[in-house]
Symmetry: C2
Subunit: 288 residues, 2 copies
């Protein structure tokens, strides 16, 4: 099941995206309110199945999509895809002992069709296309085996980053947390639809050119481990997001890199999860 | 004016702490809802002044204090107090070019009388006593001169840290974000009461021994600069908290350091802001 949160005149609403990309309205509210509620999800599924022939429903491209969830915590993972090594070498030789975790602040979050506003201050802006998992059931000290039971589903995320600001200190925070630097969506795909989250291919495209393509099989810390590990530290709540790291840029793309500029577009694409295309614009907002 | 948020049977309420430490109730809600509202603050002040002889009000130690605000963003600053240098040497010689900023996640936040629960996993837990500023008016791209106009006031914070986890990767996040690792309070002191935030002495005490004592005059990045700098990146919202860094431990205390254990207590004290004493306990909560 694909679930969206969208804006209506009366406030945000939750919808199920039908196979023909029409949206069956479920209820008022935002998705983090129901991702932990199995009965509510079952009800949404049944109602959507019953409605799936209705052609009087709005098409998804007619709706103003909001981020599928509004996470209380938006956690990101640094280096988490192994690079290519020559035959005979151990691909795990450079694996770190622990995942490197950082936070993006709430002001970054935008919907899947919203543009990223390039900063007014000088900033060398880059993209990172990622799979984001969404917590469904509260998780504290969960075992590795039980970890994925706490995942409601998956969506896509662009961990937009100002590389120069990221390097201003030891901590990435400021380079990662400019307003609008977090497009999320387009929808949440419930976990039951993904047979194996470690067998997905993440593809990232900039201005029509594939710049990264890598399987989640090459992840250093699989998603179950991330949930297990983070839950030893913090109580993960329904709607919390863990963005699982970006595949390595292809050598040609890394070499050709230039900072994102007004009019550029980046797409993150994963079969089964859909695609998230983000435009980058020069903000016209004045200093307040 | 000293403002608190406290728990009542009907939900959280806001109060003004009178000179005799009795609390005048202002209204339902939490402080971040009114810190940006000058008229509401003036109203609270006038009502409290009129009430200041009432001995039928509860004493502050009879109330269950909540964190004075529940910040949408809890931002912390790394190394921000200069060390002592011998006479004739330049104390600014080791100043970094930019403040090092990190985030603590929402699950850390506890009230001023709540205990920190030591993690169930192995963790080398330390304390950092700090002045935290609270944003009153939304701030984006504010000038250095105007920055303090956006500050509602000041409170105290213990940036509790698991040193071993902090060093697991390049990013501090996990070591900083265990559940309960963020006692905040006891109250918000409105900015009008602090003649010069760069002329305050922060004193930290562990089990009766002073372990740090340093003036905010020795800060590398003054509070106005922090607000200005952060506002170039992110829109700061009313109730957001910037904890401004911890003074350096005195050499004897640094040498005598041992991880915090069940029954320990740490106090942060600043004349004019009050004191925040935190107990550390071994959690009895079972894995879920």
């Amino acid at each position: 099941m694909r679930l969206v949160t969208y804006r209506a005149s009366t406030g945000p609403r939750i919808g199920v995206v039908l196979p023909d990309d029409r949206v069956h309205d479920v209820r008022a509210g935002t998705l983090e309110e129901i991702v932990g509620d199995a009965a509510a999800l079952d009800g949404a599924r049944e109602a959507a199945d019953a409605a799936s022939t209705s052609l009087d429903l709005p098409r998804i491209d007619e709706l103003e999509l909001l981020p599928p969830v509004r996470p209380g915590k938006l956690l990101c993972i640094g280096y988490n895809y192994r690079g290519h090594v020559p035959d005979g070498e151990d691909p795990t030789a450079n694996d770190p002992a622990y995942p490197d975790v950082f936070v993006k602040t709430a002001n970054v979050l935008i919907g899947p069709n919203d543009p990223v506003e390039l900063p007014q201050v000088e900033a060398d802006v880059d993209y990172e296309g990622e799979i984001a998992l969404v917590i469904g059931r509260r998780a504290k000290n969960v075992t590795l085996d039980a970890a994925l039971d706490h995942v409601a589903g998956y969506t896509l995320f662009d961990d937009v980053t100002a590389r120069d600001w990221q390097r201003h200190g030891s901590q990435f925070t400021l380079g990662k947390s400019f307003d609008t630097f977090g497009p999320l969506g387009p929808w949440l795909v419930t976990a039951d639809e993904i047979a194996d989250p470690q067998d997905l291919v993440v593809e990232v495209e900039r201005d029509g050119v594939i710049t990264a393509r890598q399987s989640t099989a090459t992840m250093i810390f699989p998603m179950a481990f991330l949930v297990h590990h983070l839950s030893q530290v913090m109580t993960l709540e329904p709607g919390d997001v863990i963005s699982t790291g970006t595949p390595q840029k292809l050598p040609a793309a890394a070499e050709a890199h230039r900072p994102l500029a007004d009019g550029d577009a980046v797409t993150v694409r994963v079969a089964g999860l859909g695609e998230l295309t983000t435009r980058f614009t020069t903000t016209t907002e004045d200093a307040r």
